[in-house]
Amino acid sequence: MKAVKIRCTLNGRPVTVEAPPAARLLDVLRGPLGLTGTKEGCGEGECGSCTVLLDGAPVNACLVLVGQVEGRAVRTVEGLGDLADLSPLQEAFVKEGGSQCGICTPGFLVSAEALLAAIPQPGETDIREALAGNLCRCTGYQRIVEAVKVASKERASREPG
C-alpha cells in the first residue's frame, strides 16, 4: 500500500509521518516514530501492552490503523513524564512494586492516566474496572492497585490550592 502523510499530535507536539494508512499505529509508533515504550504482547487487543491514549481515551495501538489518527492527539508512555520529571503514577509504580518485568507497565500507566483524568480519586472498583483491559502476569495486580491509589493521593496534593 502507498505511504501517505499523516499528521497528528504526539505527546503534545505536532508530527507528520509517512506510512501506509492501513499500517498499525503500534508499528508506526515503534518504527518510524521511534517510540518503543509501547509494547506488543498479543497483537489482537487482548493484553493491553500497547495501550495509548487517542484524544485522551485508552485504545489498543495494535487495533488502530495509523490513518485513523489523522488530526488527533496520541499520547504514549513517553508523554507521561521522564526520568527527571516522573508523573505521580510512574513514581508510585516504582515505589509500590507495580512494575516487575515491566513489559506491561507502559500500558497500565497509560490506562491509569486516563482513569485519574476522569476520576481523580478512584475507588478500588473504579481502578480494577479501568485496568481490566491490561494483563500482567507478574504482580497479581494488588501492587498495581496500591500504586494507583498512592498516585491519586499524590496528584491531589500536587494540585495547586
Binding site: 509494547k39 498479543c42 508512555v77 516487575q100 502476569r137
Partner: protein, 755 residues
Amino acid sequence: MALIGRSVPRPDGLAKVTGRARYVDDVAEPGVLVGATLRSTVARGRLRGIVRDPSFDWSGLTVVTAENVPANVVALIEEDQPVLASDDVRHAGEPLALVAGEDALRVARALSHLRADIEPLPPVLTVADALQRTAQIYGSDNVFRTVRIAKGDAAAAIASCPVQLSGTYATPHQEHVYLEPQGVRASWDGNGGAHVLSSCQCPYYIHKGIKRTFGLTDERVDVTQAVTGGGFGGKEEYPTILALHALLLARASGRPVKMIYDRKEDIEATTKRHPSVVTVTSGCDRDGTLRAVSIRVILDGGAYVTLSPVVLSRGALHAAGAYRWEHVSIEAQAVATNTPPNGAFRGFGAPQTIWAIERHMDRIARTLRIDPLALRERNLLRVGDTTPTGQFLKESVGVARCVEEAKKASRWDEKRRVAAGAPPAGASGMFRLPPPGAVAARKARGVGASVYLHGAGFTGSGELAHRARVAVDLFSDAAGKPRFRIRGASTDIGQGTETVFRQIAAEALWVSMDRVDFTTPSTAHVPDSGPTVASRTVMIVGGVVEAAARALFALIEGDRQEKGGSFEDAARRLLGEHGSLTVEREYEPPPGHAWDDATYRGDAYPVYGWGCAIAEVEVDLDTFETTVLSLWSAHDVGKAIHPVNCKGQIEGGLLQAVGWALQENVVMREGRVVNARLTDYVIPTILDAPRFTTILVEDPYSRGPGGGAKGLGELPMDGGAPAVAAAVEHATGIVCDRLPLLPEELYALSKEVRR
C-alpha cells in the same frame, strides 16, 4: 546501612515506567534481517524433504534446513532434540526450516511457499498410550526417567492402618504467558564469533548450546541478556533453540538476524507445564495421625527430554507434602508423547504433586470429619523430623507459624462454621454445604486451605556440581571515585535480582546502594553463577554475592587499618596500586551436605520455604463460575530482604496458580494446540484477581544471605490451586480432583452431589 529488610525503589524501575527500557524487539538496527520458522503441522511422521515453490521469487531470502546445521542437537540434559528436524518429526510445531529476509511480510509469504513433505505416522498423544507402547517413540519403553523414593515399608504400614484411602488427582498443561514473547537478535563477527542478545533466564545455557552446535570455544560465544519481559521458567531452556535458529540464519545470510515470536507461535511451539496424573494411597489413624503413604506420579514430558528428568525429580521430592510420614514409597515417571516438549515452569513439578497431596489431605479430612487445617496441623513437619529421603530438618521450618498466621488473618474457624448451615432456598437440595445467609441465594461461598513447602536451590547435588561463581569489583568511576560492581549470570526477569543483589552487596560493603552496580549478564563479562531457576537466585547466588562483597570489604578495611585514613582513602589507595580489584567467590555447600543420586537418599535441598494459603471463593450456582474473593497467605521466607518484592512474588505466583486452577486450559487436538491466542487461552485479569493478604514469616536459614533469606519465587505457585479447589468443595460440596475447575466440569460433578 540497614538496607536489608527495606523496600527500596527498584533501580530498574525508572527505565521501565518511562518506556526507556530496551527489550530485544525495541533495539532498532539498520540491516537486521527478520527470521521466521517453518513448523510441522503433524504430530509424528517422517520428513522426506522441504520443497520450495519454484514459482515464488526467492531472491534476497535466506532458507536454512537441517543440512545447514553443523551439529544438529540442542545441548541440554540429553541430546535427543534436533535444532531442525532432519528425519523424524516428533511433534506438531516442531521446527523444520528457517527463512530470513529484509521484510517481515515477504518472509511470512515465503514460509507459505515452503512445503514440508512429511509421511505421517500414528502419534502417541496420551501418557496411557505411551505406557501401553501403542508406538515406540523413546527408548524401549517411552519412559524418559523413573525416580523411586523409599522410607520404611509403606505397603505393609498402610495395610495395618485403620483408615486407608486412595485417590487420583490430575493437572493439565499450563502456558507461561510471559507478556513479552520469546525473542532474540543474533550475529557473527569477522573472527567467527557468535553474538546473541536474548530475552532469557540463563545466558550460560544458550552459551553451552551454541558451543555444541557450532563447535566453538568458550571465548568465541557472547550471550547477553536483554531486558526480559517475564520468564516463569518459559525462558529457561527454550531460548537456546531460538538463539541457534537465529545464528543459523545469520550465518547463512551474513547479516544480523532478529527473531521475535508472535503470541500464537509462542503458545504453539514453546514449552508448557507438564500435565500430571498422581495416585496417592495413604494409611492413618482414626484421629488423623498420618502413618504411611504410597504415591505414583506420571508426568507427560512431550516429545523430547528437555528438562523432564529434573522436573520429575522435584515433583517426586515434594509429593509427600509438608507432613510427617513414617513410611513413604514414591514412584515417579516422565513419559514421552508426540506433543510439544514440556519444560520448566515455576514450581517445576512440585505444583502438580502438591496439588495431589493437598487434595488427598482434604479427602482424609472429609472422611474422618476433621477440620482440614486441624488435620494438617496435627501432622506438620517440625525441626528434628526427617523427610522421605531421610533428610534431617535441622532448622528454619516455619510452617506451623504460617498456618497459624493465615488462619488468624482469614478468620478460618469462623468462616468454616458459617458455611455449615442449612441448604439455601432454591438450591434444590443439590448441595451438601450451603452458602451463608448474607450472600444471594444462587451463590455459594466457602473457604479452603493448603499447606506446602518448596525446596530452595537445585535438587540434591546440583549446587555442588554447578558451584555458582560471582565477582565483585572495586573500580574507579569516570570522576576517579571508588565504585563497586557485581558480576554474575543471574538475570533479572522482573523478580528483582538487581535490586536485591545491590542491597546485599551494599550492606556487606557498608556503602550506599547507588555506589554498587549490577552488570547486565553477558557471558563475555560475568562468571557463571548458574541459571536463574529453582528459587536459587537470592538464597544461593545472593549468598555468594554477600561472601564476595564481604571479602572485598575485608581487603579494603585491612588496608585502612594498616595504613590509616578512611575506608574511602583505603579504596582509593588500592585503586592506585592495582587499577581495579576483583574478588571472586564460589558457592560453599553446607557442611555435611550429603545426597545420593542412585538411591535418592540424603539432603534433597539445602533448606525449604514453607507456606499456607487460604482462599475464599464464591461459586455461582447457575453458571458454576468460581470467583476467588480473597486469598490470605503466610510464607516462611527466612528473611525478607525486600518485603515489597517478596509480596510481589507471592501474589503473582498465587494468581498464576488461581489461573491454573480455574481458567487456563490448553486444548490440544491431534497434538496441536488449538487455542494458541490470548482470546481463548485466558489468564486472570485484574477483575479475576482476589484481594490478597500477604504475610511474611521469617524463620531464618543460618546460611541464607541478609541474615537468613530462603528461596521464594516458586513456593506460592505450589499452594494456590489446592486452596481454591478446597474452597469450592466447602462452598458447594463438589469434590474436584482434576484441574481446571471449569464451570462445565463443576456442573457435571454437581450431579454427583445430589442426594
